[in-house]
Amino acid sequence: MGHTLAEKILGARSGGAPVNAGDVVVARVDFAMVHDARAANALKAVATLGFDELPNAARTAFVLDHFSPPPSREAANVHADMREFCERTGAVIYDVGDGICHQVLPENGHFTAGDLVVGTDTHSTTYGAFNAYGTGHEGTDVAAILATGRTWFRVPETLRVELTGRLGPGVWAKDVTLAMLGRLGAEGANFKVIEYTGSAVAAMAIDDRMTLSNHAAELGAEAAILECDDKTVAWLAAHGAQAPRPVVADADARYADRFTIDATTLAPKVAHNHDIGDVVDVSALAGQPVHVGLIGTCTNGRLDDIRQAASMLKGRKIAKGVRLVVTPASRAIYLAAMREGLFEILTEAGASVDAAGCGTCVGITHKLMSADRERVISSANRNFKGRLGNPESEILIASSATVAASALTGRVTDPREFAFDIRSAA
């Protein structure tokens, strides 16, 4: 019997031979990440452990992204503790404005294909876009990794999804994940690893592949691992990663389930009703008024997202009364977007640009409060009641293209109504 990507990566990191779903293994972790919202818990666990040496510190990054810049004295104090810890132990630090953990880790070449990466955040599944096993654990695990380089895993079952055909113009990886959420429900792949394969994945640019792996967190996935191809290898090399060790699933691997989605027929999707698993085609909500648009977050704050928005907003103005905020996922993306002139286009159109980081993704920073009975359309990943701070405000989740189209008209709008194609630029 063959093995899945997860069984092979966890096997290689825990003794060599592939392991089987259900096994419990202790695996060597290649890179670890702690962000500011979980740092207090992680640092407490490190202190409880009380080890003199933290041999894995140099392979752990601390990222100041959720409270960026810090909105409170408590958050600023956590940041100060993180800086002090990194200074003392040699851990890597990304400070305020450097960007979101899931963007800065790959951008700075901290891991490569075949690696095992653990972060204190559910969306650590993002690293799967590079054929790595990326998963989110809590502070206790990261303390163990800092001190011993290892932690334990219950090897998950795998769900294999083939995306046939090719996404049409105006349809993105975000729409694929929303289709998955509509089919399986929120947390519908709880504890499973998802392997996405097929011609539509092969055709995706890396930015879009990162959305695919990232947003699998809402499906409850432990990881979402893609195959390694020439695009992966080139991207990793361009960002200074170690030589990739591509992992391939066996043809006779055992899967919990497998199915096919025809990418060619997918329409842009929207999640509504404060449930990320309640997904409809954009046409079902078309015309509903929107008041706030958000483009950003670790799900859709990449250069291609900003390019999509700029290509649609160029020479136009967003609707009167609509607030559109664009938050680049990292400083590198911020710089690239600035150099491409995208921020000039967006600013002229009436959008505002926020410093790189988690920004308006979650209400903890109170950066962009919507009013009672207003409707927000966001390219983020979660829409439960009150996520942005006001439980009396509705949150729709959609692709950056759908958000941009809706900000232009002031109503939920199918992005395919605006002729654009940034794929050639990507």
Binding site: L49, D141, A147, T148, W152, G220
Partner: protein, 175 residues
């Protein structure tokens, strides 16, 4: 719970029943109750689902829940809150992936089992080492997958950090 125990003792206690898809982030941690202490949370846990829930839990009692207990990002603190409430084990149809880890990493016994016949107020027997759940009063008894020896060792030690203090070399029992 600490020391050099190598197995997890059977538990016999009263059941407090919860439904499917209980999010511990929402009902049992400070994620959406900013600034609240573990003690405050322990007094208010799950009250939006069942008013007075925490007050009914006596030290040593067991929570029995439906599918995906502890879904969403599930903070480690939820397990600390369950501990502060005196909960000795959680039995559920299935667990959110991160809650499962957090429970084991913090020494809380958990078991996955068909819970459809287990009712609020039942006296339950939970033996995670032997892989057996029973409600003697109703005659219900189920074999459940035994927790692997490695996981039992972590729970028996009181969690991952106490385990590593004793075994910095990760000398886990093998299956």
């Amino acid at each position: 719970m600490t020391g050099n125990a190598t197995t997890v003792a059977p538990i016999r206690a009263t059941v407090h029943r919860l439904g499917d898809e209980v999010s511990t982030d929402i009902h049992c941690s400070a994620k959406y109750n900013m600034g609240k202490s573990v003690q405050w949370l322990a007094e208010h846990a799950f009250e939006q689902l069942q008013p007075g829930f925490a007050q009914r839990v006596r030290p040593g009692d067991v929570i029995v829940a439906g599918k995906d207990f502890g879904i969403n990002s599930s903070r480690e603190q939820a397990v600390h809150v369950l501990r502060a409430m005196g909960v000795s084990a959680v039995v559920a149809q299935s667990f959110g992936r991160q809650f499962y880890r957090n429970a084991i990493n913090n020494g809380l016994p958990i078991a996955e089992c068909d819970v459809s016949k287990i009712k609020d107020g039942d006296t339950i027997e939970v033996d995670v080492a032997a892989g057996r759940i029973a409600v003697p009063g109703s005659g219900f008894s189920a074999e459940v997958p035994k927790l692997p020896p490695a996981v039992l060792a972590l729970i028996a030690a009181g969690g991952l950090l106490p385990f590593l203090k004793q075994h910095p070399d990760w000398a886990l029992p093998t299956a």
